[in-house]
Every structure is written in C-alpha cells, then in structure tokens.
C-alpha cells in the first residue's frame, strides 16, 4: 500500500521546468534589454518546494556555505553540532525518537532539488575544520572548504564525492595577517582557474585577502583594506558615524570574489562595505550597503549574474535579511528582495549565495535559519520597488 506524499510538488515542478526553459533565452536578452530606458533588474521568485526533503530524518545546522558546480549540482556545508539536543533526539543513545539527527556536513543536491550525496567530517591525512565555513566547487570536480573554528588556519580540498585531495595551511598555526604559512579562520575561497589562483577571504582571524597558487597552496600575494598592508590591531566596534571609514578590514573578511574582467570584490562584513580591487590588490573603489547596520554588518557574500558581462551582482545581507541586487559597473543598488521570517523566501541570517548556469540563485542561512533556498531567475523586469519584500511565485495555491 502506498500513501501519497505529504507534500505534493507536481504543479510547482511543472512551473519550475517551464521557467528553466525560458531562463536561458532571457539571459541572452540581457544585453539588448540594457538599452531600454526604464531601470531594469533581474527578477526572482522563491521556489518554495526546493530542495526536496532529505532522507534519514536529517536536519541542517548553521548552513554556512553554498556552491554550484558545472552540472548545476548544488553543494552546501553546514554544522550539525549547532543543532540543539531537542532537535536531534535520534542522536541520543538509545534514540529518544525517530526524529531527528544532523546530516553529514557536506550535502549535494541536483538541479531538481533531489538529495544526491552526503559526506564530511574528520578523517585520515587532514584536519577537518573545527567549524567549517564556505564551500566552492572548481571545474575539475573538487570542493574548496574553509573553517572559522578557534584553531582553524587552513583550507581543505576534496573531490565532490568526498575523497581528500589536499590541505593548504595548518590548524593551530595562525600567526597573523602577514603570515605566509597559515591562514586564520577562512570564510570562503573563490577561484580564478584561468590564472590557477584561489582568493581566500582570510577571514575571521586575519584581516586580508590572500591569493594562493591552486596547485601548491603557496601564498602569492595578499592585501588589506584599500590595498594597505593588513594590520591586526583591534579596531573596536564599527561606528557608522565615524569621520572616516576604517583603514583596515574588520573581522570577518567574508568573501573575495574575482570577476571575469579582472576585478576582485571583497566583503568587509561588519564595515558594511564592498571594496573592489584589481587582481594584484590595487584598490579601485568601495560602496557602503545599509551603512547604519550594526552587529554582524550587511555585506556577507556576493555572487555575480551569469551573463558573460556579469552585469549584476547579488549581495547576501544576513543582518537585514535581504538580497541586494547591484549594477556591478556603477556599484549602485537597483532593488532588493527578502525579509525576516521562516516562510519560503524569508530569511534568518542569510549567509551564503551562489548562482547556477540558468541564473537561478541559491542561498543558505546560518543561526536559526538553517535552510537552503532557491530563487528562480525570471528574466529582467522594470524596477518598481526598491524593497520587494518576500518574493513569492505570482500564482499561488492557497486554497
């Protein structure tokens, strides 16, 4: 006897497939759309039924990284140990309930949101991070992982299937922002495969961007805010009314993402700013985002749009619970979407962001959000609202 699934996905799946079919055409229209007079921006809607439920009564903890590979498979990394005891009764001995337990740290989903694979944790020949952070696929089928645990000073590379490949840097070895040997609590690694270089957001302990050789892991160059020599002096709390912007990055330096045209975009999270550099670390410009934001800051992670020009970038802001849509060339914000809450399309600490080949956005939430969500690219649309709020599919079934 079969019982129907509790959650029917048929209609949304059909809608999703239709949307994916036209998304590619819409991407190609971006260039011509630029010539229209009205301000246009990429438009998104959440897919409330993506991903599909995981097996084995697994739960996600703080979901602290997302990346999409060349097959449009979505990889996330999370921290099972951040789940609370009453969420993981199945981990008790003996189990206190069938529900639930922490999923393994790394999970893979296909484009339809089906669970594909899971792995991760301590093993032979490498130091699993005390607190994993960030996950970035390369084109060769590897995943690059950082960590911001108290002793994490390293980067790990695994195959997408979970086989250890190499470790750069060391745990228990951090020695400051001018060290050439180890990192200090790496937030995220972004790749420039044409140059065989990886950009390390370094991080929660150091105050720098470090560029390494992807093969050897050797640090080739590094820099701090404005391209200055990084300095680990404690700057104290961010003050939005300070007479001049901080001369150094605050912790954490949360992303450092190279663009197609040779620039590097750095998330200076608690300073509420993005700084833009050339690949050799020459400062170009900066922009502040919701400058009055205190606490965690507004600039958490960046993903570029998938058109060849990377005309737009999407900024995950886990303090204001928004995705800000920016015109990349001018660093002007065009619109934003999202709001606080636990419903589809809402966030509690939206932390990481990535795009797939169709231009769709994937985000993960840390703290008590603990989700992976997908936003479907709906093409360019005239901007009608600066703050779009929660972006739901326009055809809802509320019965």
């Amino acid at each position: 006897m079969k019982r129907p699934r509790k959650v029917l996905i048929g209609s949304s799946l059909v809608a999703l497939l239709a949307a994916l079919g036209i998304a590619q055409q819409q991407l190609e229209k971006i260039a011509s759309a630029q010539t229209k007079s009205a301000v246009q921006a990429p438009k998104f809607e959440v897919d409330p039924m993506w991903p599909k439920p995981m097996p084995n009564h697994w739960l996600l903890g703080n979901t602290i990284g997302v990346g999409v590979d060349s097959r449009d498979h979505v990889f996330i990394i999370h921290r099972g140990a951040t789940l609370e005891a009453k969420e993981v009764y199945a981990q008790e001995n003996p189990p206190a309930s069938d529900c639930c337990k922490a999923a393994p740290p790394v999970l893979e989903f296909d484009a339809e949101g089906n669970y594909v694979n899971a792995w991760g944790g301590p093993g032979q020949g490498f130091e699993w991070p005390g607190s994993n952070h960030g996950i970035t696929p390369d084109s060769k089928g590897n995943l690059w992982i950082g960590g911001n645990g108290p002793d994490d000073g390293h980067i790990l590379v695994f195959t997408t299937g979970g086989k250890f490949v190499k470790q750069f840097g060391f745990a228990y070895a951090s020695a400051g922002s001018n060290d050439m040997w180890a990192f200090n609590k790496v937030a995220k690694i972004s790749l420039d495969e044409g140059a065989n270089e990886a950009y390390v957001a370094d991080g929660y302990g150091n105050h720098r961007v470090a560029v390494i050789d992807m093969t050897t892991g050797k640090i080739k160059r590094y820099w701090g805010a404005y391209g200055n020599k990084p300095d680990d002096t404690n700057l104290g709390r961010y003050n939005p009314n300070a007479t001049e912007p901080a001369k150094q990055f605050r912790n954490p330096v949360h992303c450092a993402v190279p663009s197609n045209d040779g620039l590097v975009y750095v998330c200076d999270r608690p300073n509420d700013r993005i700084q833009v550099f050339t690949k050799d670390g020459k400062f170009q410009k900066e922009v502040f985002v919701e400058k009055t934001t205190l606490g965690d800051g507004s600039v958490w992670d960046i993903a570029f749009s998938k058109d060849a020009q990377q005309k737009y970038f999407y900024l995950a802001d886990g303090a204001n619970e928004k995705i800000h849509v920016f015109d990349r060339a001018s660093l002007t914000e065009l619109t934003s979407f999202g709001d606080g809450g636990r419903q589809p399309g809402q966030f509690y600490a939206v932390h990481s962001i990535a795009t797939d080949s169709k231009g769709n956005i994937y985000v993960t939430e840390t703290y008590r959000g603990q989700r992976l969500q997908k936003f479907v690219f709906k093409g360019l649309a005239p901007v009608s609202k600066k703050d779009q709020g929660t972006v739901w599919p326009t055809r809802t079934s509320t019965h």
């Binding site: 969420e87 108290p150 605050r250 205190l294 606490g295 303090a319 204001n320 399309g345």
Partner: protein, 438 residues
C-alpha cells in the same frame, strides 16, 4: 512516489495489524500560507492556533522574548538594522487565504498581559480567550521551566535561573568574531530568549475580537494550589461551551481541569486525571514501564467535542484523557508511550524532553472521526480514531522546509477540513494543511 518514508511504512503496518478499515485523508502542506506579514514583523514561538466560527485563523505567540537579538534588530537600542525585524503583535487574525485581518495584544488597562501567552480560543460569540502559561518560579540557582503550557519548553525564567545558552549564539561567531560582532547582535552564550520580569502567569484573559478587555480569571503570581476556586497556575489552554456559558481551563500547574462561568468568571467545578481529586504533586517523573499515573503531569490542552465530551492532553504522560462535562472519566489513549517526559542528556547538556501529547484538534466532520495530536517531541502530527483513540495516520517530520516541523505544539481544524499547526522553539511558524486531492 519513490522515496520511502519510515512514518508511512509504520502506518501501513499498523493499519494491517489492527484491521482498521477507516483511515484519515492524507494531508499536504500549503507552502505559501499565511501571506507575508507587514512591517517587517516576525513571529516568535507560536504557542496557540485556533479557528473561529468564520473559519478565521487566530494565532498567538511569545513575541520579542522568544526572538534572538539578531532577528529583532529593529528593536535594539540603537537599532542594529532599520530593515529587519520586529516582533509581530501577540494576537493575529488571518482569513482562510492567509491574509492578516487584525491584531492586538500586550499590556493594557484592567488586566495583566501574560509573560508568555499559552494558547487561545475564540468562543461562539467571537470573544478571544488567551491563557497566561508563563513560567514556574525558578528554583534557587536553577532554571525555571515552562511546565505549564502549550507552554513553550524553550522559555527561560526572567531572573534567578541561569540563561539557557542558545546554540545559535555560537552560530557564525564560532570564533574570531568575538567582540563587536557578537556583542552588538545580542549573541553569546547564555543570551537565550528570556521572559520579561514580573510575577509568573496564573491567569486567563478574555477579550472582544477587537482586543477590548472583558474578563480576567486568576492573578499573576497568586497560586493557591489545585483546590483553589479563584486562582490558577500557568493555565495552558481553554475551551468554551457557549451553550452552557462555561469555560474549561487546562490548569497545567495545578494538574487539573477547572470550569468557570464564561461571563462572570465564577467557579463551577474541577477535577484531575481519571476524574479524581488533583494534588499539588501531580504525576511525578514519567516512566513508560510504570502503571499510568493517577494524576496529571502537564495538562496542555482541553477541547470539547460536538457530542459533549472533554478531551485533555496530559503532555508528559503521553496521553489523552476523555471526560464527560461533569468530570466523569470516560477513557484514555496513549500516544507514543516511550517518549520521555523527563530530561535527557543531550549534546549541549541536560535538556528537557516534553512528552508527545502537546495539543489536539478534532476533525470537523459531523462525527468528528479523528483526533489530530501535535507531537512536538517527534515533530509530527499523529492522527487517532476518536472512537478507539488508536493511531491511524500522521504527517510531517523534523525540519525547516514547508511541511516539516520543529516543536509543533498547537493544532486546529476549520469547517472545510483544513488543519493548521503552530510551532514553538525555533520553528516559529504557522502552517496550513489540506486534504490531498482537494
């Protein structure tokens, strides 16, 4: 569908073994319900969901004290965010399409707003009843616990007790991000949600549907035990018998059901488990291998059936007891007998486990064939046959996606057969379920 759900398999076996022909409909979630709240409002721990005679859905939640600093940045001084978010008002009314129609709640003239709203009910006249199911006083140097209640087990006493370190606290701040980062956002160990200061809840409030105060039964901080005719002890839920002008109160801390005149608040009668005299000691620690306790432990729900029966959740006893309206015991049903109601040693130390029978709703067919049990421990809804109280189905499992639950602790049905659920703990959601195929 291809994927096998262990829960579904268990149901199949149970059906086969017991030879029950009648099974409840399957339910599917409505993922985009309710509509997004205005004003960057967010829900705290949802402790009560009910449906009124117009099929409007009423929700109560614990508001700001159950939200963490970094999700209510607009409420901080100075604000850490001007864009997100702030606690929604305590009582919210939605229509069947999930549109927010009205709201009220909070302190006012002539009554004391609860530290922790427990549950709510709307009577046939459209009046809204809210219980104050807050916290029992913390033992010296210890942590109070919200035994009362639809009572959010997550609640933390205002003072005297040790703040429960919320693991989210460590969240992204796992390291390095100490100092400015962690402090301003109100994270850090021991900074879990805390109830506002004040005397512990011991009362029930009645409002007109526009929020006008009408009646208060009991007084916060005044608890005189299970024989009292004027005081309560962290009441978790109410049900109103409009024809008889009577309100039934699940008086959790007094381990009893107590009935008052719903217009005057005058005492009528009360009883404990099995219709016996309740004692202050209650049922003691739960042991699945012991004979059923003769006293209630945590009385967390009360519902009236169309055929005049009173259904009561004894949460940490994993059972539902059924009575006549005069308190005569009829029967009991056990739900997930092995669920512990004491404490378990968890990854972050000893935490409480809370039994299986958190709240119930009766199906709305003329015979009310089914009983829906919100099991916040196992994070699912269990469906019982009402006549036998035998388990015949269920839906949901743990998680944060639509159709999944964390601590599902309140449940209600409407006239069209839809089901609504509310989640405490980190769930903080209301979800709508429809019979599949509809």
């Amino acid at each position: 569908m291809k994927r096998a759900f262990p829960g579904a398999c268990a149901v199949v076996l149970l059906l086969t073994a017991s030879g029950i022909a009648q099974s409840p409909p399957a339910y599917r979630v409505v993922p985009l319900w309710p509509q997004p709240l205005p004003n960057h409002w967010v829900l705290g721990s949802v402790t009560g969901v009910t449906v009124d005679a117009q099929d409007h859905i009423w929700v109560t939640h614990r508001g700001a004290d159950s939200l963490e600093g970094n999700e209510k940045g607009m409420m901080a001084t100075p604000p850490t965010s001007v864009l997100c978010c702030t606690a929604a008002p305590f009582v919210l009314e939605f229509d069947a399409n999930g549109k927010l129609l009205s709201n009220f709640g909070g302190p006012g003239q002539g009554y004391q707003w609860p530290q922790s709203p427990g549950s709510l009910a709307v009577d046939a006249k459209g009046n809204v009843w809210v219980t104050g199911s807050g916290l029992e006083p913390a033992p010296p140097g210890g942590r109070g616990r919200a035994t009362g209640a639809n009572a959010d087990p997550d609640a933390v006493p205002p003072a005297g007790g040790r703040g429960r370190g919320d693991a989210a606290a460590r969240g992204d701040a796992a390291a390095g991000a100490r100092g400015a980062d962690a402090a301003a956002a109100g994270r850090g160990r021991g900074r879990g949600p805390a109830a506002p200061a004040g005397p512990p809840d011991a009362h029930v409030l009645k409002f007109a549907r526009d929020g006008k105060f009408l009646l208060q039964i009991g007084t916060p901080g005044k608890m005189e035990g299970p024989d009292s005719q004027t005081t309560l002890n962290r009441p978790a839920a109410v049900a109103v018998d409009a024809a008889a002008n009577e309100v039934y109160v699940a008086d959790s801390g007094n381990h009893r059901i107590v009935v008052f005149d719903s217009e005057t608040g005058a005492y009528k009668r009360h009883w404990g488990a099995f219709g016996e005299k309740p004692t202050a000691a209650g049922g003691g620690p739960y042991d699945p291998n012991a004979a059923p306790a003769r006293q209630f432990r945590d009385v967390t729900c009360v519902e009236l059936s169309k055929d005049g029966m009173v259904y009561v959740c004894d949460r940490t006893s994993n059972r539902i007891q059924v009575f006549q309206k005069d308190g005569k015991f009829v029967k009991e049903g056990i739900v997930s007998k092995n669920t512990m109601g004491a404490t378990v040693s968890g990854q972050f130390g000893v935490v409480s486990s809370w039994g299986s029978a958190w709240d119930i709703a009766l199906s709305n067919d003329p015979q009310q064939q089914f009983v829906f049990v919100a099991d916040g421990h196992d994070k699912k809804v269990i469906v019982l046959r009402r006549d036998t109280l035998a388990e015949v189905g269920g839906f949901g499992t743990g998680g944060r996606l639509p159709g999944q639950f964390l601590a599902v602790g309140s449940i209600a049905t409407d006239s069209r057969g839809n089901v609504y659920t509310g989640e405490q703990h980190h769930g903080k959601r209301v979800q709508k379920w429809v019979a599949a195929g509809r």
